[in-house]
């Protein structure tokens, strides 16, 4: 079963929005996925003509299902997800409304346009978001996944290794400790330091492993690099991205772009040129261990 059997690309008619078509076509080809393109156009055109205008190479046309309408507001995009069995949405962080805007600020609410924000918050499936400075660099060679020991990061890692196995990528994993946020990340998980040469490698290993319980060994073997860094998370990740040039950054996140939150995401979106695959945690099964004082 393909990781993403169906990919949705909403286009609002802007150049910015259309930048992702190359990546979408490449990904769909590699995955054998169907590509649903929502093309906002004042007047519906014959499919071939519309595809040509979108500059989708003819070789990819058999993969594409084109949907044309005068506009695709966020509700229409989100409704298309279940309707077409979509498993990935690929879109630009800012579309038509943002094309003319000035230099984006670090605040992710300003970096991400209204439609994109509604989609990434409301989408039940992962969203591949193209940052404002997106530069197409195909084919992808590797994927970078920040991990933290938190459930959303687990989901991101699991998806990343499956994607990597399907598309033939290396997976680089990074865990960054922010000394100014000691309750986040590895330090929060490892409540006792103990013998550093035993505890920290084992903990780092577990932070990676815990995200992979259902992944096949050949998928896990895609992980070829694991880094432990300390410092500002956004800065350290940006430096890693600069150094390793991943094709895509896969990020687990909580799902809301409120001001003040998603700070790291905001900084990354401003700085990087590769797309960011946003993965929200799935609903977890209930789990209970009957121990402790609650028993009495």
């Amino acid at each position: 079963m393909s990781v993403f059997a169906s990919i949705l690309v909403p286009l609002d008619g802007s150049r910015t929005a259309a930048r992702g078509l190359g990546c979408a076509a490449w990904l769909a080809t590699r995955l054998g996925a169907r590509l649903h393109v929502l093309s906002a156009t004042p007047a519906e055109l014959p499919a071939r003509e519309a595809l040509a205008r979108l500059r989708i190479p003819q070789v990819h046309w058999p993969l594409v299902t084109l949907h044309q309408a005068p506009a695709f507001p966020e509700e229409a995009i989100l409704a298309a997800v279940p309707r077409h069995g979509v498993q990935l949405v690929l879109m630009s962080a800012r579309g038509e409304t943002a094309d003319a805007a000035a230099e984006p600020a670090a605040d992710p609410t300003a970096l991400v346009g209204q439609v994109a924000r509604a989609v990434i918050e409301g989408s039940p499936v992962p969203v591949l978001l193209l940052p404002p400075r997106y530069r197409e660099a195909l084919p992808w060679q590797r994927v970078l996944v920040p991990v933290s020991g938190e459930p959303e990061a687990d989901e991101a890692l699991a998806l990343a290794v499956r994607l990597a196995a399907a598309v033939d990528l290396e997976v680089h994993v990074a865990h960054v400790e922010d000394p100014d946020a000691p309750d986040e990340g590895l330090a929060a998980r490892a409540r006792y330091a103990d013998a550093v040469h035993h505890e920290y490698p084992a903990q780092l290993d577990e932070v990676v492993r815990r995200g992979l319980p259902g992944c096949a060994p050949e998928e896990c073997r895609r992980i070829t690099d694991v880094a432990l860094c300390r410092g500002d998370v956004a800065g350290e990740l940006s430096a890693l991205i600069e150094r390793t040039r991943p094709g895509v950054l896969v990020v687990g996140w909580h799902g809301r772009l409120r001001p003040g939150r998603a700070r790291v995401l905001g900084h990354l979106l401003r700085a990087i040129t590769c797309p960011v695959l946003l993965v929200k945690p799935a609903v977890r099964n209930p789990f209970r261990l009957d121990v402790g004082e609650a028993l009495q």
Binding site: D154, P179, A190, V196, P201, R210, P213, V226
Partner: protein, 984 residues
Amino acid sequence: MGLEFDAVLFDLDGVVTDTARLHAAAWAELFDEFLRQRAAAGGEPFRPFDPTADYLAHVDGKPRYEGVRCFLAARGIALPEGHPADGPEAVTVHGLGARKDAEFQRRLARDGVEVFGSTVALIRTLRERGVKTGVVTSSRNGREVLRAAGIEDLFDARMDGLDSEALGLAGKPDPAPFLRCAALLGVAPGRAVVVEDAVSGVQAGRRGGFGLVVGVDRGGNREALAAQGADLVVADLGHLDVAGLDGHLRARREAVVAWRIEQEGFDPAREHAVESLFTVGNGYLGVRGALDAPLSGSQGDLLVAGVYDRKQATRPYSELEFLGGGRDDAPDAELVSAPFPFRVRLAVDGVALDLAGPHWREHRRALDLRPGVLRAHDVYETEPDRRTVVRTRRCASLDDRHLLLQEITVCLENHSGTLDLDASLADPDLATSHPHLVPLEAGPPDPGLDVHRFTTRASGIEICLVARTTLAGSGRDAVRWRVAAAIGEALTFRRWVVVYTSRDTADPRAAALERARALRHEAFEGALDAHAAAWTRIWERADVRIAGSPATEQALRFNAYHLVSAADHDPRVSVGARALTGRAYEGHVFWDVEIFKLPFYLHTCPEIARSLLGYRHHTLDGARRRARGLGHPGACYAWESTASGDDVTPTTIRLKTTGKEIPIFTGTQQIHVTAAVAHAVWRYWQATGDRAFLRDAGVEILAETARFWASRSTRDGGRYRIRGVVGPDEYHHSVDDNAYTNWMARFNLETAVRAAGWLRSEDARAWGALAERLALGADEPGQWAAVARDLHCPGPDARGVIEQFAGFFDLEDYPLPREERFRAPISRLFDWDRINRLKVVKQADVLMLLHLFPDAFPPEVVAANYRYYEPLTDHGSSLSPGIHAAVAARLGLREDAERYWRESLWLDLSNAMANSALGVHPACMGATWQALVFGFLGVRFTDAGPVADPAAAARLPARWRGVALTLAWRGELHRVEVAGKAAP
């Protein structure tokens, strides 16, 4: 005394209101009409709905549509699901549900609602006693029924079918509605009682982890209610009162809950931690508690004590970042993990039954501590509505340590089909998961036997696993089974796995085959019984009763279970930092064996304590090599050792990403482990009077270690000093005169002198032989005595505080933020050199002295040191809270003592360190036991045996009504009992 529960949750129909007969009649009306029409149309005979049997089996207590589905499935009828808006005319699941509802409404309007007077009386009494009450019903008419019966005011919270639907909750037997109701009442499930008359409701109560589940049998349902988990079944609630409920709950906690660690549900991210907790072991081997049908990411390691090999990339991810420095090429650098020996693959009609797939509905595991058995219960639903139940149990025999036992029972509850069971132990990912192993043989030497033989790459140890699997009643063995299973038939498979290594015998294959072939199918239960009997003998000596706190009892038993599972009677092995429950710490043996774990063994299973000291005697040559390497005579035990006793501590680690290199000082400077061994030898001698041990091993250990200390101490200004060490507090390296190290070294020197004198007078010939073998100079014991006399052992200053090491008081103050206590930040790793200059302590250091030498310091000195060091300590080690609990308890600091005790007691069960996935913490378990025995109880040993401190009663946590345990002392078992203030 308060009640053991805070809330009671009642089912409505059949428990509070007598509407069950209305429901049964409405169901009968619906289904009879439907079945009649179907019979007429299809020409098949009409078989009516049985308002008793069918009602109880298929629809009672379930949400309406679920009841329709279940009954139809039982008759082999499939209908379209339809839509919730379907009217009664629709021949769909929802349509039939609407028809039933209409019929029920009609009868409700016509007949009204009667209540059970006894139930209402009980509810009123409960409310008068301050107990909260709730009502939980699957009925969408719940509110109407309550209103019609005029009893809305009897309940503080209610959940009916409409509430569940609005919240998106699954219905009974899912526990969600009950859990939601308990949450509305603000009561933990463990402190709530569920009262139910339906099997599905009882299942929900059990699965929800409620404190007590009461079944109400209005007729013909008693056995089913009990079988599905009702703790007691009554014909009417008139048979119960508040005191009765309280008594049953208390009894259940003490008899069942306090002997079991139960897990319900499944969270893949927590699975590795659960695997550690649910390890089965017997000291010779340990098997992590992976699922019987493991996920690809499961870590179901089989770890055999003493089987080490050269370091391999067993942690493939971290080793991309952490680069080791030194000692990695030792042929016994780390413990070897072998393939999971309980692996099975199950499929029904070609559909795999495992938790990786979409078909599982229930998953429950329980570690039964009393017999040392891990049980699992899984329910699967494969299309269409085919329910299959898989129950397993497994153990590592404590009666025959080479033997593993596993039983798998599969029941196709409501369908027939073909069951496939593949019992092959072949690991599909051996090269990656178990890189130390080179396969030598895999396959059956004769039909039915599954042989897997490996050799380790560098140490050349051969490991052989031989498995036999049989289907009960078949009289034969096979590795792969395909069986036609009838509806409701329970198929029971039993597997024996025999494990031998070349450390046990020259030909492990022959030994394993011989043992496996000698096993008889009919002896399986007997083997389980023998295993349980061995555990019974353990519990007679190791159990601790805490009256009034079953949760504490449960945790103490869990700890004792793991400590016993960790230790063998083989003097060539010891207990690693994570025992045989995980790969972390690579099976390395530290000082924690002697200081933290050994007292538990010494006073419960002294023969194990002897064996652990045997390991130190067996590895004395390694300790001699290490002393020589450090430029000294005698023996210096390795900070981290494995099979040979040579030091396997790395010298550095390097982080590839940052390029940062972090030196590891412990290997060369943490020499106090040597005195820890000596301390344990003397402690063992004191507790057992085992003359043979002292003569044959103890004196040699003491003499060789004393030689080391005499050389390692340097004379300066009329005093001997020990410079350049790391004490228990590993944040500070290269320190001089660490108080703990020096006091322990002096103890080592003094006891060596006493032991030498004892042997000289007890057995002059043996002493002569030893002196000759060790080339002991006649004046050496005198030199040890002189060094001991003049060794600088820091004492209390004017405030009563002992300086941890020379210059500690002058270090830079470090205001330890509250959030860093028990949460050491990563800067402890990255900024190791800065930490060395700060007044922050990793773990009990000076406090260790106060703990180990309780008579050496007056109470005011103990108090002064506790007050000084406790605020400086961030507890960066699992060894720390237990010692703080012990010292605080002796000082009567109840709040501190209980806080640290809880941290230590539930460290693994609460995953407090968030690292139990790497294995459990046996030394912490030992420290917890010591905190109880030597801290709260203040036990001292006299010639007559152990005596608790007269002040102990006042120290016990308020809830405890008393403590009772058994302590071994000089060949006898002594009962120690202390009544708490909460005693009735």
